[in-house]
């Protein structure tokens, strides 16, 4: 059975690029346009990994990661931050929040698939 990955990004085009890359790797994909939208989609579903942008309206990526880590069912779900931010202090902020990896846009689809394969829950 295919693993399900949630993509959280306010850019529709970026969500689509990520979705295409992941579907090419055999994953099922869910999409959310910001942190608040993503939290709504977590309930009642089994999500094996989350890929989230950092700078988003309503609820940014760091706040979203912190909120996810408070959820009992998603406490150990791996989260990859996908962002244009490449500053070390921002990365440390993501790590402190509970993210497992930091990917700087633009990413290579095969690199993203490799990162997902490394982190996705069994």
């Amino acid at each position: 059975m295919a693993k399900t990955i949630l993509i959280v990004d306010d850019s529709a085009s970026l969500r689509q690029v990520v979705a295409i890359a992941l579907k090419g790797g055999g994953y099922d994909v869910l999409e959310a346009c910001d942190g608040r939208d993503a939290l709504g989609k977590l309930s009642g579903q089994k999500i094996h990994l989350i890929i989230s942008d950092v700078n988003m309206p309503n609820m940014n990526g760091i706040e979203f990661v912190k909120a996810v880590k408070q959820l009992p069912n998603y406490k150990f779900t791996p989260i990859i931050m996908l962002t244009t931010e490449s500053q070390e202090d921002k990365k440390q902020e993501g790590q402190a929040a509970g993210a497992k990896a930091w990917v700087v846009k633009p990413f290579k689809p095969e690199q993203m698939l490799a990162a997902v394969a490394k982190l996705v829950l069994p």
């Binding site: 850019s11 295409i20 930091w102």
Partner: protein
């Protein structure tokens, strides 16, 4: 009171140059700003130069009115810039962002469609060729294999028929052997009949010599002679029938032999035809397999190219963020101009510092570093990397 010596419009113009790379609309607007700033600054500098306090006191009322009017025009221009021009820039940038995002979404969807259709075509070609790993056996290879097996079965049926005809031919030849024996037996019968007839003739002669006493024996001898004559006729008749049977058998044998020869040639022709058909099938299958291989190779190359395109398309997201930062900064400029306070270098610097703080990308920092002196900038961090925690 407005101070011309600080040349704030030149500062705004230079700031606009920093924003300009964000888009054509911004670039055109920036050019207008620079020109307006330069013209106004030149007039202000010309008026201010050489005017000492004492000289100012000696200015005629006409000159003071001219300076006040110029100042008023300048402030009005700034107010219009904030209330009318900046919102237009923001709307243009917003339109550009929306159109760019829509185009990239469509482009990405099209690329995904190409890859999906290509994968479907490759799978279909391998299914047809029957060479896909784990294929269900419905492909051409399986069809060729089945056809070859069935065609070989036809050959085996022909072989069986041919064998049966050969057997019939052998049986016919054995019948000919029997008829030869029968012919000999018929000849023996005729010979015995002749001897019996001769014997009966002698008996009749001896009976005649015996006179009255041999009369009865003469009757017997006559009957024996009659029987031997009939036996001889039957023997001859048998011999004739055997000859007729022999001819029929020979005719049948000739027919069977001719048919067997034709069947044997037909078997050879059939085998040649079947072999040709199977070879054509195999060549067709080989061609299809090669086509499928070429298609797969091309598909892999196209998929790789599309993967590269997907990476490039992400720059739309980066450009979108850059335009958002420029838009936010333009809105800050509008608010600054709408406050009614005349902007100075410090205010403009704060504006740029706020813009700088919103940067997330190396390109933005690099662009800012080449902007106004005194504003910290420079690229940090690196794109295209993955950090695992």
């Amino acid at each position: 009171m407005w101070s011309w010596g600080t040349t704030p419009l030149a500062v705004i113009g230079a700031a606009a140059v920093v924003w300009a790379p964000a888009g054509i609309a911004s670039y055109a607007a920036a050019a207008v700003l620079v020109v307006v700033g330069l013209v106004l600054d030149q007039r202000a500098q010309a008026l201010a130069s050489g005017l000492t306090k004492a000289a100012m006191e000696r200015l005629s009322a006409t000159h003071q009115q001219e300076l006040a009017a110029l100042n008023q025009r300048h402030q009005s221009a700034l107010a219009v810039l904030g209330s009318d021009v900046v919102p237009v820039w923001v709307r243009h940038i917003g339109t550009a962002r929306k159109q760019l995002e829509g185009a990239v979404v469509n482009l990405t969807r099209d690329f995904a469609g190409i890859v999906d259709r290509l994968n479907d075509a490759v799978s279909a070609s391998y299914r047809v060729a029957g060479v896909e790993q784990g294929a269900s056996g419905e492909g051409l290879r399986q069809v060729v294999s089945n056809s070859e097996r069935r065609l070989n079965l036809v050959g085996q049926i022909l072989d069986t028929t041919l064998s049966e005809k050969q057997h019939m031919l052998e049986e016919s030849q054995r019948l000919v052997q029997f008829t030869v024996e029968l012919q000999k037996m018929a000849a023996d019968v005729a010979s015995i009949a002749d001897q019996t007839n001769l014997l009966a003739l002698n008996a009749a002669i001896e009976a005649a010599r015996a006179g009255e006493a041999g009369r009865g024996f003469a009757v017997v001898a006559d009957e024996v002679r009659t029987l031997s004559t009939r036996s001889g006729a039957i023997g001859k008749n048998i011999s004739q029938k055997i000859d007729a049977v022999n001819r029929s058998i020979k005719d049948s044998s000739d027919l069977i032999e001719a048919a067997a020869t034709r069947d044997s040639q037909a078997r050879i022709d059939c085998e040649t035809q079947l072999s040709g058909v199977v070879n054509e099938f195999q060549q067709a299958m080989q061609g299809l397999t090669q086509s499928a291989d070429v298609l797969r190779t091309e598909s892999a190359a196209i998929t790789s190219a599309v993967s590269g395109a997907l990476e490039q398309l992400q720059f739309q997201d980066r450009i979108n963020q850059l335009l958002m930062h420029v838009t936010d900064s333009l809105m800050n400029l509008r608010d600054q101009l709408a406050s009614g306070q005349s902007p100075d270098v410090a205010a403009i610097t704060r504006l740029l510092e706020k813009l700088e703080r919103s940067y997330t990308m190396t390109e933005e920092r690099s662009a800012s570093a080449s902007g106004i002196p005194g504003i910290p900038g420079g690229g940090q961090g690196s794109a295209d990397d993955i950090t695992f925690f």
